[in-house]
């Protein structure tokens, strides 16, 4: 694949699924290829022409509508549905915590969160009459939020892993004493202490889906729309 195609693919990677971006993609590609052809005709080497053309378009954020119109009801229904699905999976995966005793609170909390989201989802399904309702949603902000969500989560995991290790094995590491785990029950407790914070993975996952779904439910030219 040539360098121009690679550059264009990289530019559009975050906007996979956006109708607006797909329409723009071909236009940008042809534009860049034409620019490279012009420059090589005027005596510039092909490598230099490609580099110059690529440098000219470092981002496409400014070319896209910041707040594209989106089918709001469809977006919210699918987002809530996916969050509910992930919460239910997290609830079931953490169920063995109840048997050990450590982590019962986290599992109960997940159960109530799933219940709450389930009620919201049920309520949304009853509002089907708003199926064609559209509104402007900021995709760029959603992309930024997704990035911040993952960064904060990685940071939180780092702190949590450090804290749990210090709590269980701090003195062993400090005094170079071998680590001793007396049996399966203690092992399960330590493992649960390490695993519990991973439940917060639901938050970046929920944020991750937002821009994707906004692009999926973007109103295209062929769609009629209502305010």
């Amino acid at each position: 694949m040539d360098k121009i195609q690679q550059h264009v693919d990289r530019l559009f990677r975050p906007y996979k699924g956006s109708k607006q971006a797909q329409e723009l993609k071909q236009e940008i590609l042809s534009n860049l290829q034409a620019r490279v052809a012009d420059m090589t005709m005027s005596g510039v080497s092909r490598e230099a022409a490609i580099s110059s053309a690529i440098a000219n378009i470092p981002s496409i954020a400014h070319l896209l509508d910041e707040k594209p119109r989106v089918f709001l009801y469809r977006f919210w229904v699918e987002w809530v549905q996916r969050v509910l699905l992930f919460t239910l999976i997290a609830w079931i995966v953490t169920m063995p915590f109840r048997f050990v005793g450590n982590g019962t609170g986290s599992n109960t909390l997940l159960m109530f969160i799933a219940l709450g989201i389930g009620i919201v989802y049920g309520g949304l399904l009853l509002l089907k009459r708003y199926d064609r309702k559209t509104g402007g949603m900021n995709v760029q902000a959603a992309l930024r939020l997704r990035k911040i969500g993952w960064l904060l989560w990685v940071l939180l995991m780092g702190v949590s892993l450090f804290y749990t290790t210090a709590l269980h094995f701090g003195s062993n590491l400090w005094f170079s004493r071998p680590i001793h785990i007396s049996g399966p029950y203690q092992f399960a407790n330590v493992a649960i202490d390490y695993l519990k914070p991973f439940v917060t993975l639901l938050i970046p996952l929920a944020l991750h889906m937002v821009p994707k779904l906004l692009m999926k439910y973007e109103v295209g030219e062929e769609d009629g729309c209502t305010e």
């Binding site: 549905q81 699905l85 079931i92 109840r98």
Partner: protein, 182 residues
């Protein structure tokens, strides 16, 4: 969307079934096992010797070690205080309940068992005196050696040996333990 709805319903059902199974079968079974184990620890015949092995010590002067050792032996439910006489290498335990109230036969077998464990684990312990409001029970290392016909060496604490040499004979010793009561 519709397929995902089916998965959601299926997951919710699996979750509820799992919850019911854990709370109605697994946890009650676990609690019952724990209750049975606790009960077994009150009898010299079924006590788990491995729980007291961490309290092996050369010296009887370590009060916290002795307290912890007796917290893992039969009669640990009876309130007690400890008094050490390091000059005489003697341990005195003052129980706050009458021996008659706990049950004389149960007390006799438990005290014999606890004493063998303490002598086997604490190398320089020579005498143990158990004071109850209504009686005193005293044993020496010599008494124990006579009963067991073996030296109270550490290999006695090996699980199979302990079962055969101590737990297997505790009933018969309890019958002749009246001489230790004062």
């Amino acid at each position: 969307m519709a397929a995902r709805n089916k998965v959601i319903v299926a997951l919710a059902m699996v979750g509820v079934l799992l919850l019911v199974y854990i709370h109605c079968v697994l946890i009650p079974n676990k609690l019952e096992r724990e209750r049975r184990y606790e009960l077994e620890q009150q009898s010299p015949l079924t006590h788990d010797v491995s729980t007291i092995l961490p309290y092996k010590s050369q010296y009887m002067g370590d009060a916290s070690n002795l307290t912890n050792l007796y917290a893992h032996l039969p009669l640990n439910g009876v309130k007690r205080t400890f008094q050490l006489y390091p000059d005489d290498l003697t341990l005195e335990i003052n129980y706050l309940e009458k021996a008659a109230d706990v049950g004389e036969e149960q007390v006799s077998s438990a005290l014999l068992y606890n004493s063998i464990a303490a002598f086997a684990l604490i190398d320089n312990l020579q005498t143990i005196r158990y004071r109850f409001p209504d009686a005193i029970y005293q044993l020496t290392r010599g008494d124990m050696n006579q009963l067991l016909h073996v030296d109270l060496a550490a290999d006695l604490l090996e699980q199979q040996t302990w079962k055969k040499e101590v737990q297997g004979r505790i009933k018969e010793w309890t019958k002749e333990s009246s001489r230790f009561w004062q």
